[in-house]
Amino acid sequence: MTYMLTDKYSSLATAEPRVKTRPGSSTSATAFLPLSARDFYILFFLAQRERHGYGLVKAIDEHSSGAVKLDPANLYRAIQRLATEGLVEDGPQRTADAKGRERRYYRITERGRQVAAAEAVRMRDLAAAAADHQLIPDS
C-alpha cells in the first residue's frame, strides 16, 4: 500500500499537462485524471440523468454544501470543454418547469462515464490510503 501511495503522489507531482482530445479519439480514461471538483461534479450528476444548466448548478451547490458554486460563465466554459473532449454532449431542448420555460439538457457520453468512474476509483484509493495512514480519524 505504501508503495502505491508513493507511486500515486509521484505521478501527481510529475503530472503531465492535461491531454486535450477531440471527440472520438482513443485516449484512455485515466489520461483525464485527476479531474477538478467542478468537472467531476458535472459528470457525476449527468451520470444520474440528463439535466439542464440550472439543475446542475443547484445539484452541485446542494451536494457540496455550497463549497462548489458555479456561475453561468464558468459552468458553460466547463461544459463546452467537456463537450470538446467528448465527455458530455448537448441533449434536446425541453420544457423545464411548470411555466413552460424551455431549457437545453445535457447528457454524459459513454466515455464521460468511464472518466468519471476512473476518477471515483482514484479518489476511493486515495481515501483508503489516507485512512491507512490514520489521516482520517476513526469514526
Binding site: 440550472y54 448548478v57 460563465a73 464558468n74 458553460y76 466554459r77 463546452q80
Partner: protein
C-alpha cells in the same frame, strides 16, 4: 415577482454585454444558455431574499464572469502572427520616427517656427487650463463636498439683494428646526492682534467658530484636537486652533506648540490643536471658539453660515425649506419684534453651493481667458497646417513617386502623421516649459485674491490635457495636407506643382485657414478692445476725493488695553495731534471706513419728520465715525452746511453729516440741513441733526453705484460701529511712502503694542482697485496681439504662395502690357476678399460671444459699435499690409525671367 421584471431585464442586458468580454468561440457556442442560466439564478435569488438577494446573485455573476474573462484571455497563447505584427509595427514606427526626425532636421527653419508656434499655443492653453482646473474644476478638499452649502441671506426691502451673510439667531433657529440639513454652523470673521514676549505685534485674520464647523467640513486636526462642546458654551474655557500656515510661520512647525499659550488681542488662549494644511476655510489664521449664548437674542447679520445638507438635497429645495423656517422664527424668538423685523426687511435665504461661493465671480474671468487661449491655439494650429501645406507642395513629386512605386495613401499619411506628431510632441514639451514659467509669473502677478490659488499646479490632469491638446493638434495638421493632396497622381507626376486644379484646391484650403485665423483674431481683438475701453473709463472714474499725496494706515485698539470708549477717543485724539506735528504733514484725519476701504455698519436711518409707515423699512445707510479734518484731508468736497469740528466731539448736541447720495435718497426735493434723524431701531431714538452734505466717494470698488453714507463724530456714543478700529489719512507735501517710517515711529511712541495695519499710499489703493480689470485686459491684449501676428503671418504666407504659384501667369500679364500697379491691385483685391470674409465671420462670432463678457465690462456696451469698427479696421489694415509686401514683390517681376522659369 412582477416588480422584479424590469430589474431582471436590466441585469440580463448588463450580463449580456459583459459576455462580450469572453473569447469568441465560447461566447458564440454558449451565449443563449449562459443568459438563460443567469436569469434562472437571478429569479432564484429573488425568491429567496427579494431584490437584495437578486442583486447579490447578479453582482456575483458579473464578478465571476469578469474574472474568468481576464484569466481566459491571459491563458490564451499569443498568436504568433500577432506578435510578429507587433514587432513589425514597432520597427516600422521607429523607422518612420527616424525618417521624420531626419526630414525635420533638414529644414530647421520650418521645424523651429512650427515648434515655437505650437509651443506658444500649447503653453498658453496649458497655463490657463491649470488655473481653470485648480480653481474651478477640481473638487473642494472636503469629504462629500457636494453636500456643503454656504447659506447667504438677502433683504431686498432694505436694498440687499445678497451678501447679507448669516445671523446667530437664524443659525440657532435653523439648527433646531430646519429639515434637509444634517448640520449647520455659524462663524464670525474677525481680525486679531497677536502679541507676545519679544515679538512685534501682528494683526492676522481670525474667525470665531463653533465646534460644528469642523464636523461639517469633516476636518481632522494635524496635531492636538478640535474644539470641544465645553468650549462652545458661553463662559466656557478659552481655546485657540491655528491654521497650518500660521503654525509653520510662528512656531516653525513645532508640534510642541499644542499646549502652549498664545496671546490673542491681549488675552492668553491655550493652543489646543493645529489644523491640517488643506484647511483654508474662512481664510483665518487663528480660530477662536465663538462662546455666545445663542438664546439671548437674534443678533445682527455679521457672520457666515455653512450647512451640510442631506444627500440628494438641491440648493433650491434647501432655499424653500429655509424660507419656510424664516416664516416660523417665532418658534425660537417669540418676542414678536424679530418676526416683524424679518418680515419687514424681506429677509430670505440665498443658499449657494460652497464651491461656487468660494470660487465666486473669478470663475467667469477664468473661462473667458481659457476661451481666449483656446483661440490662440487654434490660430497657431492653422498656421502650422499652412506651413505643412507649403511643404507638402514642395514634396508632391516625391509623394507621387512613392505612391507610383506602390505606397498606399495610408502609408503616405502615416509618414506625414509621424512628422506632425513629432513636431507636436516637441511643441508639447516646449509648451509645458512655457506653461511652467508663465504660470509662475501669472500667479505672482495676479492682482486679486485668486481663491484656491495654492491648489493650482502642473498636475497629472493638466499634463494629460497638454498631451491630448498636442495630439489633436498634430493629427489635424498632419492629416490635412495629405487629404488635400487629392488623388491626381498622374498630374502630379507629369508637371510637379503646376497642376492647375490641385493648385486651386490647395489655395482654397489655405485661404480657408487664413479666413479662420482672421475671424478668430477679430474676436480676440474685439474682446481686448472692449476691456481696454472699460479700463479707460474706470481709470477716469470720479473717485469723489483726491488720491494724490495721501498716506493711509489703520489701527485697532484691543479692549484688553483700552477698556472704555473715552480711553479709545483720547488715544486717537492724541495720536492725531502728534501726526499733525510731523514735518511735511499738511493735515490728518481719520475715519472708520475710508474710501475704497470697504464698508461696515449698515443700519436703518429714521427721519424725525417722516417716520416710515407700519410694515415699511427705510433704506439702509452706511454709518461711519469720522474725526474733524477728515473731509478736508482726503479732499471730499463740502456741498452744503459744515463738517464736524472738535466742538462736536463732546456729544452734547449730536450731529451727523450725509453724503450727497444719502441726501437725495432720504430727503428728495427737501433741504436736509437742520433735519433730525436717528439710527437703528433698538430703544429710544437718539436724534442727530444733519449739519452738512459732502460729496459721495467710491467705497468698495471703482465700478460701484453710489450708496448712501453718513458720518458721525468719532466720539459719538450709541449703537454705531466701534471706534476702536480707525483708518488714518494724512495729506503730505511730497511722496507719501517716504513718510512711512516717521509715522511708524510716532505710533510706536504712542503705544508700542499696536500693530500698524496696511500702511499704503492712496494711489496704491486706487491702482489695486483697478488691477483685476487691468490684469484681464493685459492678458486679453497679449492673446489678441499674438493672434494678430500669427494671423498676419498666415495671410502673408498665402499671398506669397499665390504669387509664387502664379509667377508665370503674372509674367504673361506683364508681357502683354499689365503694369506693376495692376498686378498689385489684383493681388491686393484677392487679399481683401480673404480679409473681408474673415472679418465678416469674425464679426458674427464676436457679436455672438461678447455678451459673455458683459459682467467684466464697466460702462461699455458689449456691442459698442465704435470698438468693433475700430478693431475691424485695425485688423483689415494689418492684413492688407501683410498682402502688400508680396504684392509689391510680384509687381516687380521681370516678365522675361518669369516666362523663362516657367
Amino acid at each position: 415577482m412582477h416588480s422584479a421584471t424590469p430589474l431582471l431585464n436590466a441585469a440580463t442586458r448588463a450580463y449580456g454585454r459583459l459576455l462580450r468580454l469572453l473569447p469568441a468561440p465560447l461566447r458564440v457556442a454558449r451565449r443563449a444558455e449562459m443568459v438563460e442560466l443567469f436569469r434562472d439564478m437571478y429569479r432564484d435569488g429573488y425568491s429567496r431574499s427579494g431584490a437584495r438577494g437578486a442583486l447579490a446573485v447578479a453582482l456575483w455573476c458579473f464578478a465571476r464572469l469578469a474574472r474568468m474573462a481576464v484569466t481566459e484571455r491571459l491563458q490564451r497563447p499569443l498568436r504568433v502572427p500577432q506578435r510578429f505584427d507587433g514587432d513589425r509595427m514597432f520597427t516600422r514606427t521607429l523607422a518612420d520616427l527616424r525618417l521624420a526626425i531626419r526630414t525635420l532636421r533638414r529644414s530647421p527653419g520650418f521645424t523651429a517656427i512650427s515648434i515655437l508656434t505650437l509651443a506658444l499655443g500649447i503653453g498658453a492653453t496649458t497655463a490657463i487650463f491649470s488655473l481653470v482646473y485648480g480653481v474651478v474644476i477640481q473638487g473642494l478638499p472636503y469629504d462629500e463636498a457636494h453636500n456643503l452649502v454656504y447659506v447667504d441671506h438677502k433683504a431686498p426691502a432694505v436694498g440687499f439683494d445678497d451678501g447679507l451673510g448669516g445671523a446667530p439667531g437664524l443659525y440657532w433657529h435653523y439648527s433646531h428646526h430646519a429639515d434637509l440639513i444634517e448640520d449647520v454652523t455659524y462663524w464670525v470673521p474677525t481680525e486679531v492682534t497677536i502679541t507676545g514676549a519679544g515679538t512685534e505685534p501682528t494683526r492676522v485674520p481670525g474667525a470665531r467658530v463653533l465646534a460644528e464647523m469642523f464636523t461639517i467640513l469633516r476636518t481632522r486636526p494635524l496635531h492636538g484636537r478640535l474644539f470641544s462642546a465645553d468650549e462652545d458654551a458661553a463662559e466656557g474655557p478659552r481655546a485657540v486652533l491655528l491654521s497650518h500656515g500660521f503654525w509653520q510661520q510662528r512656531f516653525a512647525g513645532d508640534p510642541g506648540a499644542v499646549g502652549q499659550d498664545l496671546e490673542v488681542s491681549g488675552r492668553q488662549y491655550p493652543i489646543v490643536g493645529i489644523l491640517p494644511p488643506g484647511f483654508r476655510f474662512t481664510g483665518a489664521d487663528v480660530y477662536l471658539d465663538n462662546q455666545r449664548d445663542f438664546t439671548e437674542g437674534f443678533g445682527g447679520f455679521n457672520g457666515g453660515m455653512i450647512a451640510r445638507v442631506n444627500t440628494g438635497t438641491t440648493v433650491e429645495a434647501l432655499r424653500i425649506e429655509l424660507d419656510r423656517q424664516i416664516g416660523q422664527i417665532d418658534r425660537t424668538f417669540d418676542d414678536g419684534q424679530t418676526a416683524a423685523f424679518l418680515k419687514d426687511s424681506g429677509i430670505a435665504s440665498v443658499p449657494i453651493a460652497l464651491k461656487d461661493f468660494i470660487i465666486g465671480p473669478v470663475q467667469q474671468t477664468l473661462w473667458i481667458l481659457m476661451g481666449t487661449v483656446g483661440f490662440v491655439l487654434l490660430i497657431a494650429c492653422a498656421n502650422v497646417a499652412n506651413l505643412f501645406l507649403v511643404r507638402a507642395e514642395g514634396r508632391q513629386r516625391e509623394v507621387a513617386v512613392r505612391r507610383a512605386l506602390g505606397a498606399s495613401r495610408a502609408q503616405v499619411l502615416r509618414g506625414s502623421l509621424t512628422e506632425s506628431l513629432t513636431l507636436a510632441s516637441a511643441g508639447c514639451l516646449a509648451g509645458l516649459l512655457i506653461a511652467r514659467v508663465s504660470m509662475r509669473v501669472l500667479l505672482s502677478r495676479i492682482p486679486f485674491d485668486l481663491p484656491r490659488a495654492d491648489e493650482i499646479g502642473l498636475n497629472a490632469v493638466v499634463l494629460v490635457f497638454a498631451v491630448a491638446v498636442s495630439l489633436v493638434a498634430g493629427l489635424v495638421f498632419g492629416t490635412l495636407p495629405v487629404l488635400r493632396s487629392g488623388g491626381d497622381l498622374t498630374g502630379a507626376l507629369r508637371d510637379g506643382s503646376r497642376s492647375a486644379t490641385a493648385g486651386k484646391a490647395r489655395v482654397r484650403t489655405r485661404q480657408g485657414l487664413v479666413v479662420a485665423q482672421i475671424a478668430l483674431s477679430l474676436v480676440l481683438l474685439s474682446g481686448a478692445g472692449l476691456m481696454a475701453r472699460s479700463f479707460t473709463k474706470l481709470a477716469n472714474v470720479d473717485l469723489g476725493f483726491v488720491p494724490e499725496n495721501l498716506l493711509t494706515f489703520q489701527l485697532s485698539l484691543p479692549s484688553s488695553l483700552y477698556e472704555d470708549h473715552d480711553s479709545v477717543i483720547a488715544f486717537h485724539d492724541a495720536l492725531r495731534e502728534r501726526l499733525q506735528a510731523l514735518p511735511g504733514v499738511e493735515s490728518v484725519g481719520a475715519v472708520r471706513d475710508m474710501p475704497l476701504g470697504g464698508r461696515s455698519g449698515g443700519d436703518i436711518l429714521l427721519e424725525e419728520n417722516d417716520p416710515p409707515a407700519a410694515g415699511e423699512m427705510p433704506p439702509v445707510i452706511w454709518l461711519t465715525r469720522a474725526m474733524p479734518g477728515y473731509f478736508g484731508t482726503v479732499g471730499v468736497p463740502l456741498l452744503a452746511g459744515r463738517t464736524m469740528t472738535q466742538a462736536d466731539q463732546d456729544d452734547a448736541s449730536p450731529v451727523i453729516v450725509l453724503n450727497q447720495t444719502a441726501a437725495e435718497v432720504f430727503f428728495p426735493g427737501e433741504d436736509p440741513l437742520g433735519q433730525r434723524v436717528s439710527v437703528g431701531l433698538d430703544g429710544e431714538p437718539k436724534w442727530l441733526e444733519v449739519i452738512g452734505i459732502v460729496g459721495t466717494t467710491k467705497q468698495e470698488r471703482l465700478a460701484e453705484t453710489a450708496e448712501p453714507k453718513a458720518f458721525v463724530p468719532l466720539s459719538s456714543t450709541g449703537t454705531f460701529n466701534s471706534a476702536r478700529r480707525l483708518s488714518f489719512v494724512m495729506r503730505v507735501a511730497s511722496d507719501p511712502l517716504a513718510m512711512a517710517d516717521a509715522v511708524r515711529t510716532v505710533v510706536r511712541q504712542a503705544d508700542s503694542n499696536l500693530p500698524i495695519i496696511a500702511m499704503r499710499s492712496m494711489d496704491q489703493i486706487v491702482s489695486e482697485a483697478g488691477a483685476p480689470m487691468a490684469f484681464t485686459m493685459i492678458l486679453l491684449g497679449i492673446a489678441a496681439g499674438i493672434a494678430m501676428v500669427l494671423g498676419s503671418i498666415g495671410v502673408y504666407g498665402v499671398i506669397s504662395y499665390i504669387v509664387g504659384h502664379r509667377t508665370g501667369e503674372i509674367g504673361i500679364r506683364m508681357a502683354v502690357g499689365a503694369a506693376g500697379p495692376d498686378v498689385r491691385r489684383m493681388l491686393l483685391g484677392q487679399g481683401s476678399v480673404v480679409a473681408l470674409t474673415g472679418l465678416g465671420i469674425g464679426l458674427a462670432g464676436t457679436l455672438a460671444l461678447m455678451s459673455t463678457m458683459e459682467s467684466l465690462l464697466y460702462e461699455v456696451d458689449p456691442f459698442d459699435p465704435l470698438t468693433h469698427a475700430t478693431t475691424s479696421l485695425v485688423l483689415l489694415g494689418v492684413v492688407l499690409l501683410a498682402t502688400w509686401v508680396p504684392a509689391l514683390r510680384a509687381s516687380r517681376i521681370d516678365p522675361v525671367e518669369a516666362l523663362r522659369s516657367d
